[in-house]
């Protein structure tokens, strides 16, 4: 048993290291080209925070079985916290140049602080909210998400127009964590490492005692309580844990964008970032599969990118062209189609594991080859 766990760690670390080396090779080969700087690196940043967001919502939606519609509120807290702390550091003159070691410390500190603040607010929200379940929980989290955004709007130092136009001026924020193209390329490893650490923490969480407990709560809350699981403790813990990661995602978002505005964190808007979009990602990937969330975050990012920038979209005319002018329409259709025809999502509850991959494929093939036999027998 123990041997296979060690084996798993070694395989995973080896694969990650191989991927990182591959990325470095690509970087050294094409590092100066415009495609790399302006398309590939920003895309990586976006993918990173989308992956963390989708996976963290999946903890609540897929594993705990509670619909939270205010996930972007926690992300907004993380983003604003990271931006404001970095601004404060900037004003205190902690990091003059971005290559120094202290800058990286501040950067990681900001990300951690953003996560912890979001987790604290998540705890405060979770204690009253998780007394309810189902529809009421959805509505109350939606309400909290709106309140958070509304309060940030009314903060004197954050401002309605966002950090770029509010009391903190754009140039200051850009000197803080708001990365320009060059810094994005330099610090892309931070985003990747943070995403990997977050994913590892979430995988470990769902395989631990906590993960088994919340799956039991999802399947039957009354039975779980009867078996001695402290349901409210586990629910609030999961909610807080999930809020932590959305705060981290918010901090990454703050790094990747030189301006922040609360309208990006609303319940629905035309852009890629809203609570509904995260729900679409989780449902598409499969409620209860972190692998699914990662894959579907990447799929949805590519889809969004294609809708916004693809050449084939521009060639469409008439109603079809109008349809692609409003990406949320496409996502709504995807959501309905997935819910109707494959409610489990792409992966269902399947988790990818490199150790078991070969075994899983073999089992799948065996299942597939068995099916036709049955029909013949009939």
């Amino acid at each position: 048993m123990k041997k296979s766990i060690t084996k798993g760690y070694i395989i995973n670390i080896a694969v990650i290291a191989a991927l990182m080396v591959g990325f470095e090779l690509i970087k050294s080969a094409t590092g100066d080209s415009q495609t790399f700087k302006l398309i590939l690196v920003p895309s990586l940043w976006q993918c990173c925070y989308l992956i963390i967001l989708a996976a963290s919502l999946n903890l609540v939606l897929g594993f705990l079985g509670q619909l939270s519609l205010g996930h972007c509120g926690f992300m907004a807290i993380g983003a604003y916290a990271a931006a404001l702390i970095s601004l404060a550091c900037e004003r205190a003159g902690v990091f003059a140049d971005k290559s120094s070691f202290s800058f990286i410390l501040v950067l990681l500190g900001c990300i951690l602080a953003a996560g912890i603040l979001a987790a604290l607010i998540g705890l405060l929200v979770g204690i009253p909210a998780l007394r309810l379940r189902g529809d009421y929980l959805a509505i109350i989290t939606l309400g909290f998400g709106m309140i958070i955004v509304n309060i940030i709007n009314n903060l004197p130092f954050a401002g309605q127009e966002g950090l770029s136009l509010g009391s903190a001026s754009a140039s200051l924020y850009k000197n803080g964590l708001g990365f320009g193209t060059a810094s994005k390329v330099t610090f892309v490893w931070v985003a990747i490492i943070v995403t990997l650490i977050c994913l590892t923490m979430m995988f470990m969480f769902i395989r631990s005692k906590y993960g088994r407990a919340i799956k039991a709560i999802r399947d039957d809350e009354i039975a779980a309580a009867a078996s001695g699981i402290n349901t409210s403790y586990y629910k609030i813990f999961t909610f807080t844990y999930s809020a932590f990661f959305s705060g981290v995602a918010g901090a990454l978002y703050a790094c990747a964008n030189a301006t922040l505005s609360t309208s990006s964190f609303a319940f629905t808007n035309g852009g890629i970032l809203n609570s509904t979009f995260i729900v679409v990602m989780v449902v598409l990937g499969g409620m209860g599969s972190l692998t699914g969330s990662v894959i579907s975050a990447i799929i949805m990012f590519i889809l969004n990118y294609e809708i916004k920038n693809g050449i084939w979209v521009k060639s469409l005319t008439g109603f079809l062209g109008g349809m692609f002018a409003y990406p949320m329409l496409v996502y709504a259709i995807i959501l309905i189609v997935v819910i109707m025809f494959r409610p489990k999502g792409i992966f269902g509850t399947y988790e990818l594991s490199l150790v078991n991959l070969i075994k899983d494929i073999k089992n799948y093939r065996a299942k597939k080859s068995k099916k036709p036999d049955k029909k013949e027998a009939k």
Binding site: R131, L142, T268, G322, I336
Partner: protein, 298 residues
């Protein structure tokens, strides 16, 4: 003092619009236990129907408000087809969670589909005046005719609806289905048709709310229903979801809270207070003001 009364009147007017929308929410929730997120967008459908039918109606020599009849018809059709196409298949196979996600998806679909239709587009459209302008004023307090009509019409609609659910056969059937679906099948009630009727009535009410809304704020845009619908849902939860008098009470309270915060605290904080009330109510008394706590059966 006159500011206070003016605020009170504004609150009542807003509240009666919320109450009308909340009635639709509460009826649908009461019967199928599903938050119909798309309900707010039925208001938008009603608004645009009126935009397109007002010129027709005026050409026929009828008053502008009669276009609301078309709006009610269209909204009822949209509501029923939503139930038939999206909610009914999901209800048969999925869990309550998938049904809720479908409702969100339908809401998004309606909003964005409207934007994608070239004749509607994303920009707001300004409507013509629906009711006659003017009003009267008593000791510094101005009452516009629109305000009076809004409050009176919604009060009448609510009373009629309440009597409908209490006295008529169809209304009784609706109450039966919301209480116990299996038992009402045994009593010979056609459950699916009753649910369809509930959707039709609820969506029709949202068209009436659309009339009131654009009589007051003569602007129609595709996301007009989103916030209105959410606040109306808050109203329905506040009063006790599934209970018709509760929806009226909740609507009026939400309207008053909103108008008083707007005029005495800050206009940008009004939404915060509305949702704060929801949270306080859900924490203290999840069944709502008029609701009764029901124990869970294992």
């Amino acid at each position: 003092m006159s500011t206070f009364i003016q605020t009170l009147i504004v609150g009542l007017r807003l509240g009666s619009i919320y109450a009308l929308v909340a009635l639709g929410y509460t009826m649908v929730y009461g019967i199928i236990r599903l938050i119909n997120f798309a309900h707010g967008d039925f208001i938008m459908v009603g608004g645009y129907t009126m935009i397109f039918t007002i010129p027709v109606v005026l050409a026929l020599g009828l008053p502008a408000w009669s276009s609301a009849l078309f709006a009610i018809l269209i909204c009822a059709v949209v509501g029923m087809s939503t139930e038939l196409v999206a909610y009914r298949p999901i209800r048969k196979r999925g869990t309550s969670m998938t049904a809720l996600i479908t409702a969100i998806a339908v809401s998004l679909l309606l909003e964005n589909l409207a934007q994608a239709i070239p004749a509607i587009g994303p920009n707001p459209v300004v409507t013509s005046q629906i009711f006659s302008t003017g009003g009267f004023s008593i000791s510094g307090v101005t009452m516009e005719w629109t305000t009076v009509l809004t409050i009176v019409i919604s009060a009448v609609v609510m009373v009629v609806l309440y009597q409908f659910t209490q006295k008529t056969r169809l209304g009784r059937a609706m109450r039966c289905v919301s209480e116990d679906k299996e038992a009402s099948i045994l009593m010979g009630i056609n459950v699916n048709n009753t649910i369809l009727l509930t959707f039709a009535i609820g969506s029709g009410l949202s068209a009436v709310a659309a009339l009131m809304y654009i009589a007051q704020y003569p602007k129609v845009y595709t996301t007009m229903g989103a916030m209105l619908g959410l606040k109306a849902f808050v109203a329905a939860v506040l009063g006790g979801i599934g209970i018709i008098p509760g929806a009226m009470l909740g609507g009026l309270i939400i309207g008053l809270v909103e108008s008083f915060t707007t005029s005495y605290v800050s206009s940008s904080m009004a939404d915060t207070f509305v949702f704060l009330i929801l949270i306080v109510v859900l924490v203290i008394k999840p069944a709502g003001i008029l609701g009764k706590n029901v124990g869970e059966k294992v």
